[in-house]
């Protein structure tokens, strides 16, 4: 049977060049970068090369890159770290309703600790409005944290405009760019963000490889205290092989970004056309144009996401869903509800994220399978039967 991974944001296999770069650091070059003897030399150089590659990918300086073990950690370091260093300046934080839980859940905790948190709303496409940001900033605001792109509906925020607003009021800006880096042109310096989180496993790097960009001007406190690795901002023996993998993935992404974006957009659009033209009752979620080049999110009306997902799984097609049944926390996607999707459409959402291994030949099979799976589930759906009756009655 065919196996088609359309859930690349959840996980992709490593690019062979990435794994190859990593392997010697498990064995031959196993040393600790902090060692005073020569076993540390090659690992240390490799680590700094990886840092430089990540810096180049987002146009930063190497010393502005702090490695972490996940985007969640980067987000926690960014927000908690900045707040710990700037507590005296105020107690107000602005973010948005569509952030990842590694931003939102921290903010909940901070609220309990006495911080005031404003979560900006989004429009039907998931966009934050810069004017609303402008209005939300007070003289107590110490941080704005808004994602670069949404991992679920793919919507790319008007980051430059948003940062400009914060900058004009002297408020540091953090962007969770975990879903965006490697898939959009992001220039940390030009954009003017103070902090930027990125995730290696979103662009061909290994799990456990992530980083926080901390601009030269920005002061934060470490989350993990201890040794003086990562300029004292993140203690712990450096995970050299994994970070070498991150560096290689960053290097490849930087070298081929324009091409990747183009190739993926084309494939994405082909898939979108095919699905929309062949599968009835499909609704595209997220922004029609301003979206990640590898992201598609549909709601399949009348049916539930986990059932779709399981049936597609039986056909060797792997996707994810924003339905409550597929979430570990059993809550349907906060992003889909934030863009105003009614519950039954949120429950029937399907997320496709393309990767390096996908190709246009897969599209007919995907289309076919989604069509028959949706049809089958629709036929047993009370919502669909009710809809048919309403249509009949109206006719």
């Amino acid at each position: 049977m065919k196996k088609i991974n359309l859930d690349n944001a959840a996980a992709s296999p490593l690019e062979p060049a990435v794994l190859e770069a990593m392997l010697p650091f498990f064995t031959e070059h196993f040393g600790n970068p902090s060692s005073g003897h020569e076993l540390g030399n090659v690992p240390r150089k490799a680590l700094e090369e990886a840092r430089a590659s990540v810096a180049r990918l987002i146009n930063a300086e190497p010393r502005e890159i702090i490695f972490t073990a996940s985007a969640s950690e980067a987000n926690n370091l960014a927000i908690k770290g900045l707040i710990a260093a700037n507590r005296v300046k105020g107690n107000h934080i602005i973010s948005s309703v569509v952030e990842h839980f590694s931003v939102l859940n921290q903010l909940k905790t901070l609220e309990k600790e006495g911080f005031a948190v404003t979560l900006l709303p989004v429009d039907q496409y998931g966009l934050v409005n810069p004017e609303q940001l402008d209005q939300a900033i007070t003289d107590k605001t110490i941080l704005v944290s808004i994602q670069a792109a949404n991992p679920e509906i793919g919507t790319i925020q008007p980051l430059d405009d948003l940062v400009k607003v914060a900058e004009s009021k002297g408020v540091p800006f953090h962007t969770d760019a975990a879903a965006a880096v490697g898939w959009t042109h992001l220039d940390a310096k030009k954009t003017g963000v103070a902090l930027l989180s990125l995730a290696g496993d979103q662009f061909g790097g290994p799990k456990g490889s992530a980083a926080l960009y901390v601009s030269k001007k920005t002061r934060i406190r470490p989350l993990i205290e201890g040794g003086i690795q990562e300029r004292g901002l993140r203690a712990g023996t450096e995970n050299v092989p994994i970070l070498v993998g991150l560096g290689m993935a960053a290097k490849l992404a930087a070298e081929t970004l324009a091409e990747r974006v183009k190739k993926s957009s084309i494939l994405r659009d082909q898939l979108k056309e095919s699905l929309i033209n062949n599968v009835p009752y499909l609704h595209l979620n997220g922004h029609p144009e301003q979206r990640l080049p590898h992201n598609l999110n549909f709601s399949v009306e009348f049916v539930e996401g986990e059932a779709l997902l399981l049936r597609l799984n039986m056909a060797g097609i792997y996707v994810s869903s924003g339905s409550s049944c597929t979430s570990q926390a059993l809550k349907s996607s906060h992003v889909l509800s934030a863009i105003g999707l009614p519950p039954e459409l949120a429950q029937g959402s399907l997320l496709f994220t393309l990767g390096r291994q996908n190709s246009a030949d897969e599209i007919p099979y995907i289309t076919d399978q989604l069509n028959s799976v949706a049809d089958l589930l629709r036929k047993m759906s009370p919502l669909y039967h009710q809809y048919l009756k309403e249509v009949q009655n109206n006719a």
Binding site: F302, E306, A307, S324, C325, P343, Q347, M380, P382, H385
Partner: protein, 131 residues
Amino acid sequence: MPDYSDKVMDHFSNPRNIGEINEPDGLGEVGNPVCGDMMKFTIKVKDNRIEDVKYLTFGCGAAIAVSSMVSEMAKGKTLEEALKISNKQVAEELGGLPGNKMHCSNLGADALHKAIEDYMEKQGVKAESAT
């Protein structure tokens, strides 16, 4: 993938008794799209027995498997026997359900009971639910 038993996957893949009985003797609905699962059971009763049972289900793999299992368990049973079918029994018959699916998706017996009660009410009979 959720930790579904083979039996759950069997009922999910080949759900039995799908559909809606025309002019049913009893109708029971539970759930709503907000919680993610909806079930609509319709029954045909003859000689105090469930002669036929069908359902429509909007929901996850567990919800579909539960509906299918309940329909099989109910068919041919007397109303009193059918009222004794509990959600817990259904889960057991399915070889267990993942912990987080026990509450929200395991509503099949409730829907069946509602359909029976609907029938009984129509018959002017008052019954006590076994759930």
